[in-house]
Amino acid sequence: MSAKAEALGGAGESKLSPQFHVAHHFDKADTQFDAGRMGVWLFLVTEILLFGGLFCAFAIFRSKYFPSFVEAHHHLDRVMGGINTIVLITSSFTMALAVRSAQKNETKKTTLLLAITLACAAGFLVVKYFEYSHKIHDGLLPGGNFTAADFASGHPGIFFAIYFMMTGIHGVHVVIGMGLILWILLRNQKNEFSSRYYAPVENVGLYWHLVDLVWIFLFPLLYLVG
């Protein structure tokens, strides 16, 4: 990408991302970008394996306590979950657009798109807060803390243990993602990104898409399938 940018940039190129220079141990900017992107992809693989353990636990306990899982999942709020799904997919879309506008030197548009992404992430957490407080109020809690009455099947606490662990760890990822988006938003306002240098925007975008993707698996598994 940057090879193309160099061809297009010509004389005006030095004004784009003036703070950027190739690190001393890379031969050229392209290698540095490729290395960074590869590193982020590898990191995303580790994230998938981290969540993979929880998905595996979900599959095992669901097959072991199927009636309990069916009964428990009716206590999750599909509307709130559905709204959050739409919110996160929207944020992923604006994030992708932000990467594109950073590549096209549209700094103000990038700021706006990143701000929308950030707002969506905050909205997601607000909805999550209401969901969690509802569950806590009803005593729908993990394992030994489970106090809700009127459950016909055994061990609904296991379902809520997995629900809180998975959505909780996902929520932590959303918070970290918000920090990262804020970081590139501030750097973008200092005109650090351009067609010559946009690697951090793209890499934070990759991370954010993974956060979105994990939720896209969590929502149907926990809220929808019975």
Partner: protein, 545 residues
Amino acid sequence: MANTATVDELGHAPEVRGKNYLNQTAGVWSWLTTVDHKRIGIMYLVSVLVGFGLGGIFALLVRLELLTAKKTIMDATQYNQAFTLHGAAMVFLFIIPSIPASLGNFFLPLMIGAKDVAFPKLNLLSLYLFWIGAIFMLAAIVTGGVDTGWTFYVPYASGVSTTSVISATFGVFVMGFSSILTGLNFIVTLHKLRAPGMSWYRMPLFLWSLYATSIIQVLATPVLGITLLLLIFERAFHIGIFDPTLGGDPVLFQHFFWFYSHPAVYIMILPGMGVATEILSTHSKRRVFGYKAIAFSSVAIALVSFLVWGHHMFVSGQSELSSAIFSFLTFFVAIPSGVKMFNWLGTLWGGSIRFTVPMLYGIAFLFLFAIGGLTGLFLGTLSVDLHLHDTYFVVAHFHYVMMGSTAIAFFGGLHHWWPKMTGKMYDEKLARVGFALTFIGFNWTFFTQFILGTRGMPRRYYNYLDQFQPLHAFSTYGSWVLGTGFLITFICLARSLKTGAPAPANPWDSTTLEWQTASPPITENFEKAPIVTLDAYERPAEETA
């Protein structure tokens, strides 16, 4: 690979050369904020040696306690803590980071002709995460110890034990991130920063083994992370996932734990195999026999390692079919391991073998890994394992692999690369004494335990039947010889720092790239960016003619 055109001008002692990575800048702060892979490697080296010393002290205490069948020096609770901390310190503070994070960090960029790893700041972050994790583990020792065994099995670790399990497991959790980031850094570095002409098949085989190791670090460690996180939540909030009274499944913990910890066994041994390959080739002045076979067997071991975790659970209520499949897959690991073994022997065949100190460690590695590897097959056999499970046979087996192979390879590599890292030679005679005592003491201590195990002595027992006492005492005497051996090795290396003769650039007449720069190297690694025209173990035409 004497092809960098800078060999002659770099073939001087460091005093003549002036600046190098050690004296470029001075002061503690310049070390703590460095992004130089060589300095980070040295800091890892010091850290893992401290971890080794800590684990070693606990080992000697455990052996001393087992001198007699009843109480010798500590009570049963203290004994449980001593063997737990021995295992946890050795596994997490020493073996897992040992070769990759110290020797790997130092030599991976040098061997491919790069100036640094791909992400130097991330490399420093890995080191800090390792230290933070280590602090949590040390905090656990101070605030009540840990007595669960290094495997943290539930339900004991999640509910019954009254010791500082959370602090210890959180420490391991943090150190896991350090391990992941190091692996990630190495993979990207090998893909993106090889010097011009340094194709994959021209890389020294140590780097193939580090590549395979890094794959495991990146793919397996996150699963340990989530497992320990679940354990911490189970202990702190009773979430029930591992608690049978709440419908949870303790065996699930074992599955999760070994899904990481069996591949982790290969995180420990693969780098050792790589070091051994470099030593055996250099000190017999022979090209490595079967380069590609050794390279691909490393990758094959890494892949198969993910499919054998169930062999730790033959007696955990696993179905007979699962056990049979895991047993078969376990035997499969012997194939790439055997490929390596025969290729190492092929490398030595007809070579001009020099019994230098690193070579002594290299040959000891072959001998001890053969025993450690073959006894693994005994344990992979279902009917035999039912008898040997959780006996001293298992203890002896994994010590032959972990210590006899990995730690011996680590110390071999340390002696091999010491002149390059420090710019100093060491006292060969003293180093030989250290090696000899280590080798004799090791076999004395642990071969005895094979016999104890086959006679039915269970591991981790505080009191044991009187009939085992003579062999236990014999093993304990061996541990004193072993400890003395390591002590002499440390004294030898420490003395070399003060009084050692200046090291030439290439004291062993090796062909790989790290020897083509000064000892110790300059901060930028090479005066001129190297261009590679020969294979890793190929000598230039004028030398071989």
